[in-house]
Subunit: 231 residues, 2 copies
DNA sequence: CCGACTTTGTGCGTCCGTTCACAAAGGCTT
DNA sequence: AAGCCTTTGTGAACGGACGCACAAAGTCGG
């Protein structure tokens, strides 16, 4: 379940506060979900609560960590050391949860050899070697859009089965490979959409009578549109 | 719909290739979705296709842009200029889609006054002034977890109604405010979960007979667990 | 001008996730 | 030791998203 990490974080916070026991109601509030949903989620890992009391924080942390595979270390490689790749390489949230960044790769010879966050940037040519020798299991793609699919193909070929993709493209991979996508500009676009909704729907800044959807086959020739290019 | 930005990107790519018309089947493949779903999505903005032919790329781009509110400019403020905030401020995908970063704010006096991506970092004290004077409608929170809720409260108070949160906390806001969350470490944890599944479920690296869920009320005292702290 | 072919738009059945509500279970107090 | 009170775990109803499959609509060639 995608919510387990959220629960885990909330539990860690409680742990730091010295809380030993928590009810589903309290934990659900901290995680921002419905308490029944939380109980059902937790029941999927077996029953670890005590009726009348709640859940033992410490034990639950261990169970969820185990379920998520955080009791073992995962070797991560970051491909593409632009602004985003650099930020990711220095992100403390990785190391603290068992994710060890073991390689930074880039095609740009101007950054190859530079040391970033304690690692030396290596050339993308070494991708296959690095993946195999260091047993990389998770790769982070932070390249420009144009390079992402090629990099992805090489990663898959080299045996990587989990990919976190920051490039604004839809990667095509075999079913056996898990891809998760984070697209920053899409997030902003969704916010803009809702923001516009609040302001009264599309075109609220223009003539109000223009609300109705255009009839089908309205001539598109004169329609203005925004030109946008990828980063 | 959260898929519109994906369609829009695919359409932009087609446009650059000089394609004038596209069928739902082709566009769906490019966006990585089912063609019936795509048609249904598009029909929600009114009917803009021609049976037997497909959709006019240029017109569709305009319609989706309009629906998403990309025909107008959105003013964005980034709070927190650490690694991530810096990367975001230089991210080309924002400006190209009508998002104008108008302010960088930080509490750290060592970075206040520095110029980053063409903007001067300002002190967080000016948050209210900046939001109001520059008509910020979307804020990006890239602060440490501990500061996020306080910053969020001030943003909401100042009138911001859309927030993109990168801090690993669940923000509490009024219903009228839209929050989207991007948590990098959660994405990796989900990948780790699937990766572990492939490897044979939890604890596959330990005794294999340990598969069965622990009985309820197993003594938790001796359970090892990973200690994790926030970034 | 007509018929065949292509592609849209959508009605409908299916399935998954969410939520309510309650019975069972366990602790705590007296 | 017994009953009360809290909280879990889950059955069942609900709702929404998804995808199939098809009729309607429109194009294009002859």
């Amino acid at each position: 379940m995608a919510r387990l990490p959220v629960y885990l974080r909330a539990l860690h916070n409680l742990q730091e506060l010295g809380v030993a026991t928590v009810s589903s109601e309290e934990l659900a509030a901290a995680a921002g979900v419905n308490s029944a949903k939380l109980r059902k989620d937790l029941s999927h890992l077996g029953s670890y609560g005590t009726r009348g009391v709640g859940y033992q924080v410490e034990y639950l942390v261990y169970q969820i960590s185990r379920e998520l595979g955080l009791t073992q270390d995962w070797v991560v490689a970051i491909i593409g050391v632009g602004n985003l790749g650099r930020a990711l390489s220095g992100y403390g949230g990785f190391a603290s949860r068992g994710f060890r960044v073991a390689a930074l790769l880039d095609a740009d010879t101007r950054v190859v050899g530079r040391r970033i966050s304690g690692l030396t940037v290596e050339h993308i040519d070494k991708l296959e070697t690095v993946v195999k020798d260091r047993e990389v299991s998770i790769a982070v793609i932070a390249t420009p859009a144009g390079a992402a699919q090629a990099v992805c193909d090489r990663l898959v070929e080299a045996g990587v089965t989990s990919i976190l993709n920051f490039a604004p493209v839809v990667l095509s991979v075999p079913d056996s490979v898990e891809v998760r996508k984070v697209d920053l500009s899409i997030e902003l676009q969704i916010l803009a959409f809702h923001e516009q909704r609040k302001a009264g729907g599309p075109m609220a800044d223009q003539i109000v009578g223009d609300y109705a959807p255009l009839r089908r086959n309205d001539p598109p020739e004169s329609a203005p549109y925004v030109e946008a290019v990828d980063a």
